[in-house]
């Protein structure tokens, strides 16, 4: 099957204050997506302030120079739109998706908080409470909370930026101060450290003017120097386990370091194919073996990046496998079988058709994502920020299609037990 390509236009410009802009008009539906991405994430949090990048993201919705508390949401939703933000390892994004008529309003709102959020003690305390409830919902009050994205990094990594809990400890969140927030904004929320992307139904020339009008007076501040977060690869296997008092069944996740997603993109791409060869659907290697034949796991997934952000993460990162086991399941046995299947792949290569069908399915997943305006605006902003290459959004299916069997086999051969970090969930629930 021939892998199709998309031709979304990509226009780039940089404002005088250093703000980078990516524009991708497409009039197939009367909606627009607006994304602003700041080059700061969980890895940049200071020690003693775990969870701060995410807490700060919340504060960006609490009003700004010309916007009162609650108004951001009201203005976006009152324009028929939706909004949110999310905090990742290497970036924090903010977005709106709206009927086309709301575009200028979204630009205004983003520019206003780029000039500065309204930071108050009351809002800070309120959002610390909200974030604690978010952590309770997503981590503390449910089985497998934070597994593996919060649980595996401390096993794999040894430095604070890479290993710490990005949701944050309650103690750290509670000790956050307004001064911390002001300093964080000053340092990281510089417009030179941001990218704005707009995708969807708009006129290019008119929108360029609107962007200059609204963002032109954001004070120029350069991007801070970004530290290299690299760590040496593992030379001996690391393994830890913990008891999850709410989990009725065991689970296990392993990660292996992969090549630098940006510095060595050619070396990295085969791992994205490998992850799907191993776990995408019933015809994949590990689902067939572990789920269908051995019945040693009930489900298994494989992906790149602890937050699944394969094209939106910098070095160091990992290929992850995570599996849920049946009652009494033996994680050790699962790991041995994974090793066996990786050996088989590395030794015998791929089966006829296996690579092509995996590539075809990856193309479908990718095209499906980018059919949505936000599915283009958000990744384009990150691709611009991390790589200066937003047009990669059109090129991914082709690049995936060019990955060779030799590359996939070579990638599989690097997933050795001695390079592996593993975390096991022991069921602590009575069920």
């Amino acid at each position: 099957m021939k892998i199709p390509a998309t031709k979304y236009p990509v226009e780039r410009l940089t404002l005088d204050n250093g703000l980078r802009v990516v524009l991708s008009p497409d009039r197939s539906a009367p909606v627009v997506g607006v994304a602003v991405v700041y080059d700061v994430g969980i890895r940049s949090e200071p020690e003693g302030r775990t969870g701060f990048a995410h807490l700060f993201e919340h504060l960006m919705f609490q009003g700004s120079g010309n916007i009162d508390k609650l108004e951001h949401a009201r203005h976006v939703q009152g324009a028929g739109g939706s909004f949110n933000g999310s905090t990742h390892l290497d970036y924090t994004d903010y977005y709106e998706v709206l009927p086309a008529g709301g575009l200028e309003r979204a630009l205004f709102l983003e520019a206003d908080r780029m000039r500065g959020p309204r930071l108050t003690e009351e809002n800070l305390r309120n959002q610390v409470d909200v974030v604690k409830e978010e952590i309770r919902v997503n981590v503390l009050n449910r089985p497998y909370g934070g597994f593996p994205w919060l649980k595996l990094p401390p096993v794999m990594f040894s430095t604070f930026p890479n290993e710490h809990d990005g949701y944050g400890s309650f103690a750290d969140l509670e000790s956050a101060t307004l001064a911390d927030a002001e300093e964080f904004f000053e340092r990281y929320y510089a417009c030179g450290n941001a990218v704005l992307a707009v995708a969807g139904d708009f006129d290019l020339a008119k929108t360029t003017e609107l962007i200059k009008r609204h963002f032109g007076d954001v004070p120029a501040r350069p991007a801070p120097a970004r530290p290299d977060f690299d760590e040496p690869d593992l030379t001996a296997e690391r393994r830890e386990s913990y008891t999850d008092r709410l989990a009725p069944l065991p689970a296990v996740a392993s990660g292996w370091r992969v090549p630098d997603p940006i510095g060595d993109f050619t070396g990295y791409l085969p791992y994205t194919v490998l992850a799907e060869v191993l776990t995408d659907g019933d015809a994949s290697r590990l689902v067939d073996r572990l789920v269908q034949r051995d019945r040693t796991v009930t489900s298994i997934g494989g992906y790149l990046g602890f937050m699944g952000d394969e094209y939106a993460v910098r070095n160091p990162t990992a290929l992850l496998l995570q599996a849920h086991l049946p009652p009494g399941g033996d994680a050790e046995k699962v790991l041995r079988t994974v090793d066996e299947e990786l050996d088989r792949l590395a030794t015998d290569g791929l089966r006829p058709g296996e690579l092509a069908r995996t590539q075809a399915r990856i193309a479908t997943h990718h095209l499906r994502e980018i059919d949505a305006v936000l599915g283009r605006a958000q990744p384009m902003a990150v691709l611009e920020q991390q790589r200066g290459r937003p047009e990669l959004i059109n090129e991914v299916p082709k690049l995936i299609g060019e990955v060779t069997e030799e590359q996939v086999v070579a990638a599989a051969a690097t997933l050795r037990p001695e390079r592996r970090a593993t975390v096991e969930v022991k069921p602590g629930a009575g069920a």
């Binding site: 539906a29 409830e133 499906r368 069920a431």
Partner: protein
């Protein structure tokens, strides 16, 4: 220079429905094909009437639908689909068996052929069914450790009583007893084209896509079965039902209220009243208990539609220590929307949100497919979007207030709370009568 004044909104263009075609095949299968060529894919949704099907068997059938045909193993089904960039999966709700899938546009015919083989020539091999049965049991066991699932289970039981909707997840023990032969029998009996609707959306010529579906699925025949579920019972108010989850660091509050189907004249005003109350971020409930009080990460309130009736459910997870205060604020906000008309501006805001959400929902292939398939299963077509938009645009403040007084009155709500009973029973009992789950 910029003066930093909030810009107004450019007026929306008229809703433009995508090009589509529809045909009911000789077998009774309705095929709806919709053109949105933005990316070279096709989204597929098939809904087959499944009301009153025995739950453990139906649930396992949905999990095991792709385990094999007379000529293909599960592995072959999956790899043949993958070869055209395709994928299919199945799920179940109390009314329908739902097949969801997508494929590269050039793979549509092949994907339909494989779907046809699964529908007309299923094998349910004992080995594979055994695997899926164990997976389903494990999956249910995990679900039963999740507060959201437990709260929902308790709420369904409480509001539906002896109605078939009361239980929507089978017990592990019931699933363990299901045999492959029973799946084959259920499939033969219920996986029938009569009354089913297939929706195809994407980079297609609608007429040709229907031809392709006709060709591939022509051999899928057989009479449908009357799966009509009796109308849901009226809500029976009573004491708050408290379900104990010892050690829970949050409480899950669920309030069910009456609602109406999409075609009812009350629907648009009710939808708006619900938005103003708690149906989106800029609602009173969210602004109160999240943005003012910090009791929760995210409350939400929405109208759920089943074939046999609709209900309105408000859901929130709150810190254990503020369970009582959260209920107090919730009842206050319901009482306010039920007793006083909404403000002009907050109603306009909710209206624009409702209208905008429709446009956003239509803006992708997957969104269109979900809408078209869902509407079709209620006998509606995409042109309902136009009609519904007009109703939303026309609803007056008086209508919204009047409808809110009838549907959102806290006195009519059925309340279930899941949490650490020892720590929250006193808080709740200070506000209302409480009964413990047996």
């Amino acid at each position: 220079m910029s003066t930093h004044v909030l810009p107004g909104l450019a007026p929306d263009s008229k809703i433009k429905l995508p090009r589509s075609a529809e045909r009911t095949l000789a077998s009774g299968l309705t095929v709806i094909a919709i053109r949105r060529p933005a990316v070279p894919l096709v989204e597929l949704r098939l809904r087959v009437p499944f009301g009153r099907a025995p739950l453990p068997r139906a649930t396992l059938l949905s999990q095991a639908l792709f385990t094999g045909t007379g000529s293909m193993s599960s592995l072959e089904i999956a790899s043949e689909l993958q070869a055209v960039g395709g994928g299919l999966s199945a799920g179940l709700d109390p009314d329908r068996l739902l097949v969801t899938g997508n494929t590269l546009a050039a793979g549509l015919e092949r994907t339909l052929e494989i779907l046809a083989a699964v529908l007309t020539d299923p094998a349910y091999p004992a080995d594979e069914v055994g695997t899926e049965r164990e997976r389903l049991v494990d999956h249910i066991q995990v679900a039963q450790s999740q507060p959201a699932h437990l709260a929902r289970t308790a709420l369904l039981k409480r509001i539906y009583g002896r109605h078939p909707y009361a239980v929507q997840t089978p017990e592990p023990e019931q699933v363990r007893g299901v045999r492959p032969a029973q799946l084959r029998a259920l499939h033969a009996d219920r996986v029938r084209p009569d009354g089913a609707v297939l929706v195809l959306v994407g980079d297609i010529n609608p007429e040709k896509a229907i031809d392709a579906a006709d060709k591939a699925l022509g051999s899928w025949t057989g009479p449908g079965k009357d799966g009509n579920v009796p109308a849901i019972p009226a809500l029976e108010t009573g004491p708050l039902l408290l379900v104990d989850r010892p050690g829970s660091v949050q409480s899950s509050l669920r309030l069910a209220m009456p609602a109406v189907p999409r075609t009812d004249p009350d629907y648009a005003p009710l939808l708006l009243a619900n938005l103003v109350f708690g149906g989106y971020f800029s609602s009173r409930w969210v602004e109160n208990i999240r943005e003012d009080k910090g009791y929760t990460y995210g409350p939400g309130s929405s109208i759920e539609h089943f074939l046999a009736g609709s209900s309105l459910v408000a859901s929130v997870e709150v810190a254990t220590e503020v369970t009582g205060p959260s209920l107090l604020e919730t009842v206050y906000e319901l009482g306010r929307i039920a007793s006083l008309p909404p403000g002009e501006e907050e109603l306009e805001q909710a209206r624009r949100y409702a209208l905008g959400t429709l446009r956003l929902g239509m803006s992708t292939q997957a969104g269109l497919a979900a809408l078209a398939s869902m509407y079709a299963s209620f006998g509606l077509r995409l042109d309902y979007l136009v009609e519904h938009s007009a109703a939303l645009a026309a609803a007056t403040r008086e209508q919204v207030a009047e409808v809110a007084s009838r549907y959102l009155a806290p006195a009519k709500a059925v309340t279930v709370v899941l949490g650490d009973a020892e720590r929250i029973e006193g808080q709740l009992a200070a506000l209302t009568a409480v009964e413990r789950d047996a």
